[in-house]
């Protein structure tokens, strides 16, 4: 072995570091999708083509989802703070609220897409829209499952100040989900 260091390792905030790297890969995935979306959209508009049919994408459902995700970011921060303060009751309430808001966002999105009558094979724009929004739904669903796991740990009394890293790691991932949705909101629902 080349130069090795024999001293014992320390593991500062290992879970948070791993979550940061993992969340980074998810952000790069969405970064790739957004880059393709905006590139193809810019080309289509430059050639005078219609991107979405008139009235297909409405601002209100997207705005409601954005508000839901923004509220969930606040409740997630509340959960982190509660765990830091060893406040188990508030931690449980905050995590449960965050998960419910995530589920509400998934529900609103599914309802909206069943309602708009824009089939996935209607155009390039529709295909990309479904891929981006569908991927984000998966991201939120994973976050909700993670929060469910944390809730179980909290019920078991494990989410204390000493075990805060798992909550911080989940929070990092959740904030990224909110950030990704904000790009969807501005880039797709507002800019159309």
């Amino acid at each position: 072995m080349a130069a090795t260091v024999p001293t014992a390792p320390t593991r500062p905030r290992t879970l948070v570091v791993a979550s940061a790297f993992g969340t980074g890969t998810v952000l790069m995935y969405f970064g790739g999708l957004f880059a393709l979306y905006f590139s193809v959209r810019a080309d289509a508009l430059a050639w005078g083509s219609q991107w979405y049919p008139e009235g297909a994408i409405q601002l209100v459902p997207g705005g409601m989802n954005m508000a839901t995700m923004a509220m969930s970011a606040i409740t997630m921060a509340w959960a982190v703070q509660a765990v830091l303060n060893d406040d188990r009751v508030h931690a449980m309430i905050a995590m449960a609220l965050t998960a419910v808001l995530g589920i509400a966002m998934v529900n609103q999105t599914v309802f909206y897409f069943m309602d708009i009558g824009l089939p996935i094979d209607a155009s390039e724009a529709a295909t990309m829209l479904y891929v981006i929004v569908g991927s984000h739904l998966v991201m939120v669903a994973v976050g909700v499952l993670w929060l469910g796991l944390l809730l179980l740990r909290t019920l078991g009394g494990q989410d204390t100040n000493r075990h805060r890293d798992l909550v911080s790691a989940a929070a990092l991932y959740w904030y990224a989900a909110v950030a990704v949705y904000s790009v969807i909101w501005v880039g797709i629902y507002i800019a159309k």
Binding site: R11, L36, D121
Partner: protein
Amino acid sequence: MTTTDTAAASDPSPTALEEAVTSTDPNTLSRVWGFGGMTSVLLGAIAGLLVGFERLDLASADVFSSADEVFQFWSAHRVALVLLGVLPALMGLATTVVPRQCGGSLLFPRAAALACWTWLIGAGMTIAGFLADGGLGTPGGAGQRQATALTLMGLLLVIGGLLLASVCVMTTIVSGRAAGTGLRDLPFTAWTTLVAATVWTGMLPVLAANAVLAYVDLRGRPAIRYGAEDAIWEQLSWMFTHPAIYVLALPALGIALDVLARATGVTQSNRDVLLVATAAFGFLSFGAFAQTFFDTPGTPIREEALSVVAAFAIVPVALAILGGVADTLRRGASNLGSKPPADAVVALLAVLLVVVGTVVGAVHVIAPLELLGTAVEGANFTLVVGAAVLGVGAGFHHWGDDIVGPGARPGLFLLGGLALALGVVLSGVTDLISGLLDQNDFTGVTLAAAGHPESGVDALNLVSMVGSLAAVAGLVVWMIAGTLHMVTARKDAA
């Protein structure tokens, strides 16, 4: 002693398969990554050899029945070498060598095991997809759509496994290294793995985004655009060409620096310069932006300033690293003796091929030469990926005793390494000349598709095919050497 303890004590020891499937031991995972990766490298080289046979007579399809079949094997050659071969093999070294270099142990070993098996299952699905007439699309659109979907799904699992393993390794380096050890103190293998893994976690998700888009468009109905059979490869091809392939060679450079320092018994002078140079090499390898499929009409991305500058900027960086290697060899030459260690020889060849590969990469973006899409791209791929394979091989030989136990075969390893290097040079140089004579990177099976005006590249293609044959022979020798090593180590352990 409890009942459970008694029962456990009476159990027979696990078989090699049981141990491999259930273990979270980094050494075991490293063996799975390494053996699986090098097997894929061999399969990829064989696919390349078959395409080389076909290229010998461009007037008719002799080995394959159609241009679509040639294309499937040609693309399988690249996918097998990059995503199923070199990257996993590097992950094998990263799983076991890097944590030790950091003075700790691999963090999240169960996640690392999940990553390893996800990759292996994905690799199996990808190969099955290619063999079932799928692959990553075909120019004629004559492939099986279901098999193409299987290939894409396999590719996504492969990417997922590689990403999860990268996260484990990066976290180990950043958060799990010994107290008091700064990033500047890391050995070069660990350092270059950190840089390369950072770039992988930047590029592989983008490749996944491309694959998901193609998969969603492919399934269940006629494709709109992204899932069309003749469009899938072009969306994914950026991962298998300049500049993205350079990142495969980066850990090979780190391995070479460590191996040569050990062989010569001297530490590198100007260590900080080498750290910066290797980091720059990694970040100049970021290639997710170079997606020709999404070119704006009239402004092809590979002719834009960013691509061209990156292609030229990496050459002096590679030369700086070569300078560091040369300086180490100069100062430690007296310690090498008349018979330098086999791993040092192979590692040095890897560094030289990386430098040549970057020069070829810079030449092929010079607009007036019009070399984009020609066999020069194939030469660039062969030289860089060949260098990466040599570097990985040197790493496995150098740390082989730590991974599987004693029993290395240096003579056999050197023989295989020299054959592989010879094959890479022959294929690379002849493809470079063929490209300068206008032969296309993908030649198809007709003179018209090959893109050359019957200007005597047939002889060059023959030499290139001989090079491919030498490379396959070298890899077979390595597989034999590795298998003998593992058998000897197992016998010794028993």
